[in-house]
């Protein structure tokens, strides 16, 4: 089944008010900014955002008023430290109050993994004695039925939608990913459906030539949108490097609520789509983020 649609259609069809959406699951790379901006443009509300790192994409959705809750292990600006919209929402309820379900990276990964595996929880040895555990809806101390050891049980977390930005996939959503994987695989498997944005749409044969690279099988995927540089300003290995300056500029420009609103208007609400967003960033600037030094993987044969 051909799942290729525009990113606008993908968001319109699959993301509804009140849903739980996992994004930024690669941690600091492959963050699906283009998809997130489209969620802002379409005015979704009351979302729960899930990601180990709640980076500036989450900050943007929070500042735009789309978000009721964040489930994350770390929140901020991975380039410059503070995420001001997040702070304003948590500390002052601006533009609306924001609930936060705090995790460690591992407990968040385990919550997604439990859902991905179809079990209601997974046990771990992390975070025992931490204040993270106190009154936490998804963390509970348990006793091992075999050894009597104290363990931390992490309850399953099942996003309605996981959005991933990937290097390449076919029209069914069978996707080749490379680089650090964060919790992307667990998040995809845990979710009700997956939206992929990709740098390149490739023929089935490319995918089938290297099945070990297919880390997301198409049967998990509901929609595929071709969005080159869709992770900007975060990097996608082999396709676009990190735009460090962008993070610093965002930091400066969004210190005040007014500054944030101007920023949002200029780059998100005031752009029709990701192409227009990239045009505002500047073609030259994007071109300079393209890799200059190729690093080809050594050949592999599946010969029979």
């Amino acid at each position: 089944m051909d799942k290729v649609v525009t990113i606008e259609e993908a968001i319109a069809r699959h993301v509804r008010d009140g849903m739980t959406i996992a994004m930024g699951t690669g941690l600091e790379s492959c963050i699906p900014f283009a998809a997130g901006h489209e969620i802002v443009r379409q005015g979704r509300r009351d979302l729960t955002l899930v990601g180990p790192v709640s980076d500036i994409l989450f900050d943007q959705l929070i500042g735009a008023g789309c978000v009721a809750r964040v489930i994350a292990a770390w929140v901020g600006n991975v380039g410059a430290g503070i995420a001001y919209s997040f702070r304003r929402a948590v500390e002052d309820g601006v533009p609306r109050p924001l609930a936060v379900e705090d995790h460690s990276n591992f407990t968040l990964a385990l919550a997604l993994e439990a859902a991905a595996r179809g079990v209601p929880y997974l046990p771990s040895r992390t975070a025992l004695g931490s204040d993270l555990v106190r009154g936490h809806p998804r963390l509970r101390e348990v006793t091992c039925p075999f050894t009597g050891a104290r363990l931390l049980a992490v309850a399953a977390l099942r996003p309605d939608v996981t959005v991933l930005h990937v290097q390449r996939c076919d029209r069914e959503g069978n996707a080749h990913l490379w680089g650090n994987l964060g919790v992307s695989l667990e998040a995809a498997r845990a979710a009700g459906t997956v939206i992929l944005t990709c740098e390149e749409l490739v023929d089935d044969d490319v995918i089938r030539s290297d099945p070990n690279r297919t880390l997301i099988p198409g049967f998990l995927v509901g929609a595929v949108a071709v969005v080159p540089a869709g992770s900007h300003p975060s990097p996608t290995q082999g396709y676009v490097n990190r735009d460090d300056r962008f993070y610093d500029e965002y930091h400066e420009e969004t210190r005040s609520r007014d500054g944030f609103l101007r920023w949002l208007d200029r780059l998100v609400l005031g752009t029709r789509d990701h192409q227009e967003y990239l045009a505002r960033i500047g073609e030259d600037r994007i071109r300079r983020l393209r890799p200059r030094e190729p690093r080809p993987a050594a050949p592999v044969s599946y010969g029979v």
Partner: protein, 256 residues
Amino acid sequence: MGDETGGATRRQIMVVAAAREIRDGEIVFVGMRLPLLGFALARALHAPRVIGLFENGVIRDAPPTGPLVTMGDPPNIAGALACTTLSDVMAYLQRGRVDVGFLGGAQVDRFGNLNTTWVEEAGRRTRLPGSGGAADIASLARRTVIVMPHERRRFPERVAYLTSPGYGTGRRWREEVGLIGGGPARVITSLGVLGFDRESGEMVLEQVHPGVAPDEVRAHTGWDLRVAPALGTTPEPTAEELAVLRRFDPEGAWTG
């Protein structure tokens, strides 16, 4: 933080002290900035067989060649030994395979507990970034090394929120709550190097950086800080160490 002591900046001294905590052949959970530099320094000098794990799923046996802002930057992926998932590297940690993990935080207390979640100052709560992988590293690494600027507000007697466990309320606490990792071994600050008392689990000043008096450290600490009877002075970075550091941080962005 930029103060010079002899020929080296305080941050250079901190990085060199951090590097010395890494032994050859060890598996290290690396963070960004100073710990990453410490990893690079150790690898270049006394620990050529060190392996570094990053929580995003990257495993390296050598520091990246380009400058990094985050561990997900392309130069940290290219040339890695392995790229995998966050859960996989956390599993190595939980399986007890990680010898040492580096940590930082907004606050560290008398028993080495860290807070990166929120602080309250002048009646206003400030929300901080949260744990990230810190609670996991603090819980599961065989030992941890904490690297922090030494300021009184960052060294309270008791953290406002215990994000990442040190020795809790004392040396036996970790066992009581079920933690398997060894807990903090060292705290490297802008003023000195601290260890933990074997009996009580309490932080003890072991070394002061060149030119720093023990009372200065105590004045910047929020409790009655114990000083080791055999208080030492942090060795100055050697010319070789400084040369390597300049190679990895040529513009002094992190150690200037």
